[in-house]
Symmetry: C2
Subunit: 484 residues, 2 copies
Amino acid sequence: MSEGDRTLDPADWESVRSVGHRMLDALVDGLRDVRDGPAWTPMPPEVKARFRAPAPERGLGLEEVWAELRRSVLPYRLGNVHPRFWARVMGTGTATGVLAALAGAAMNNNLSGLESSAVHVEAQVVDWLKTLVGFPATASGVLTSGCSLANLIGIEVARDSAGAVKAEGLQSVRERLVGYASEEAHSSIARAFMVLGLGNASLRRVPVDSEMRMDLGALERAIEADVRAGLRPFCVVGCAGTVNTGATDPLEALADVARERRLHFHVDGAFGAWARLSPRVAGQVRGLERADSVALDLHKWGSVQYGVGCVVVRDAEAHRRAFQASAGYLAPHPRGVSAAESAAHELGPELSRGFRGLGAWMAFQEHGLERLRAVVEKNVEQAGRVAARVRGEAELELTAPAPLNVVTFRYRGRGLSDPQLDVLNAEVVMRIQESGLAVPSTTRLRGRTVIRLAIVNHRTVDADLDLLVDAVLQTGRAIAAEGV
Amino acid sequence: MSEGDRTLDPADWESVRSVGHRMLDALVDGLRDVRDGPAWTPMPPEVKARFRAPAPERGLGLEEVWAELRRSVLPYRLGNVHPRFWARVMGTGTATGVLAALAGAAMNNNLSGLESSAVHVEAQVVDWLKTLVGFPATASGVLTSGCSLANLIGIEVARDSAGAVKAEGLQSVRERLVGYASEEAHSSIARAFMVLGLGNASLRRVPVDSEMRMDLGALERAIEADVRAGLRPFCVVGCAGTVNTGATDPLEALADVARERRLHFHVDGAFGAWARLSPRVAGQVRGLERADSVALDLHKWGSVQYGVGCVVVRDAEAHRRAFQASAGYLAPHPRGVSAAESAAHELGPELSRGFRGLGAWMAFQEHGLERLRAVVEKNVEQAGRVAARVRGEAELELTAPAPLNVVTFRYRGRGLSDPQLDVLNAEVVMRIQESGLAVPSTTRLRGRTVIRLAIVNHRTVDADLDLLVDAVLQTGRAIAAEGV
């Protein structure tokens, strides 16, 4: 094997450059024209079968890999880049986000405490997010792969403030630790309780009121009952924008309860925290700025490419204490690469990780807060428009208030039972997805399957949503006529 | 504000395309010519100061952001793309990895259980990695941001097999759970114990033998003592390639101990697992294939861009059971985007996350196993060459065996005490880093500061390592002459 075969660099850099320019053109074209194509395309079985081959012993070369990428991968992307994708809560990303990924990958920076520009870029992004959530500059923060880990970090800081958990483990704490979140809280909160060893059952799910917000009386009663039973409440989690309906818990009141009872107050603001960008919407999440920790995503309403989330923690020392680890090979020196001022690798469960902050750093500067705010305001207006139209259509039923950017509704055929309507509405969603027109999703609300749109999409124009409602009506009628 | 201001898409797609092509050329040039520049450049204070500005209210536009990226960010990247970067254990990435990031960001795929090509790409990569570590196809696996979370997942599966931890928490388990790893195990193992609520002290650090491998007798004695004390051993962690010296624990023997004592056997094979690519080196990690779970990184010896790791778990059902969560908005449907066959979002602490697998998928196919193997073999040979030269230089001391791709050594001036040599060797490393010639790092071995090279670098040629050893000799002499 020649020396050139013992590196992964190309023998001919011009060949890489050539593929790169063609790829860039194809991808820019694809984003420019995304509206003209389907929102989602199911992958045919014969394409799926291609992904079962073992790794080749001999390489195929870059041209062939690029051809296969065009054939089997790009056409079947999820579709959240499309203007009519509203499933789950997914951001679309931007063209600049694509360029940020390009530059970030060329730097290939590892953020694990060594000094480089990437450390400063991410520190600046975290500073901007502290400002966004109304935290002081003395707070601490770190970028994560998304809100699941951001929530986990916030709750871990809370857990570790409750005793010698970091050193001796939860089994050394006599009174069982319990926390509180509403029934509508995101699944990542329960999962954080599982990962952290607290257990799913130690997260008390507090009922919600008619507007899907945590019932304060029920919270107080749950805490009292736990205290009486000898358990140890340590944390309350508020939602700023629930995934199901966009509801926000009474955060001001939760902050008061937390202060009075000496609980850690964590807010899951995955997309809702971005409401603070706009004076028109910020009132909905008032009280978020009083939290002890806030988790939020950048790849949702921040419109940066996947996957970037952030957690900010008011007590920087508690944050660092929870995750700090030492090792001979991590020892800092006063100069050189080990002299980084950042301790981002001591603020979460990761050590080596990629350069997550560049897309946000570029986006905030390219667009300014002004343009990011305009997207938030547009999407909230659009949700309001859909809700108003649904209220005006006799065949549709608005199934929950739509205060922010999430709308839930249901096609209601005449004389159909709730279980029949569950089937019908799921079928409506599947057919619309399969048609490629749009990607709404479903959820379960108070035991019923409903159609759900989460509008975190800077590409969506009002007419896109009209098309979707039209399609729901037509498809609903067709299925009702076929018989459910 | 006009409609065009309410999207983050550019008014003029040609302007994005233009910046993109210029950026691509600059970045390809940068990689092609990386050898001609410094391995690392410290960031001047006036550049650092630029990263303290608040987010702008009005956007600067893409051209200005690209200019600032060139001015303040790109020149100060960490340097692991350079042929003479050997600090910590860092992969260099490839040109193809840059293009993979470009394509991945344009797809902007979210992997949280929805059907898309990205799901199939990642499943194929995980299948390839199962084969790499010698696991059966029935095993389970998931891509993570790196080995820290991969280790955490493996140990969480072990923890949750020990009782009703997922539902009721560790506080419901009466006997304290304890696990075992060598003194040389990576800091992420201890951190996983902290995050999982087990506690740092519940990870017993077993002494190592003269070759830095876990002492089996000491392990047996530690287990016996814990059992006698009423504690409950649940897990033993073996290292395949320690970060300090590249040593590998006696994995065959650990597999026997784990089977006999019914412990979960997890292997941290962050880079060492890649030894299995080569028949010449695979013997060093024999027994790894008998583990219950293996963690490995792709961004180290896999040479893909940061950050991608993987955990494979033999018992797929135990893996899924540990992380499965349900929610109304996650309910699957038989067709449409919710019909994904993948459960990758149920195999770790994340839900939404980015498309991590594309770089590896492209790299394995472009280069073939043949070229990836050649890099592993080259780096191991290079470590052997450096060790041989160090042994031959009177002023240098090899401070540990170098069986794999990590070499540790020390400059030993005449008549200097150990503490003086600690200062001298750290100063050698800082000066070489500051000069831009190369980036070695340091570690502490048996209480002494040593110079450390971890060669996971497909760009390194033998002459690069000769330059480094020459520089250590010259710099060591200069510092000794100045007086420590």
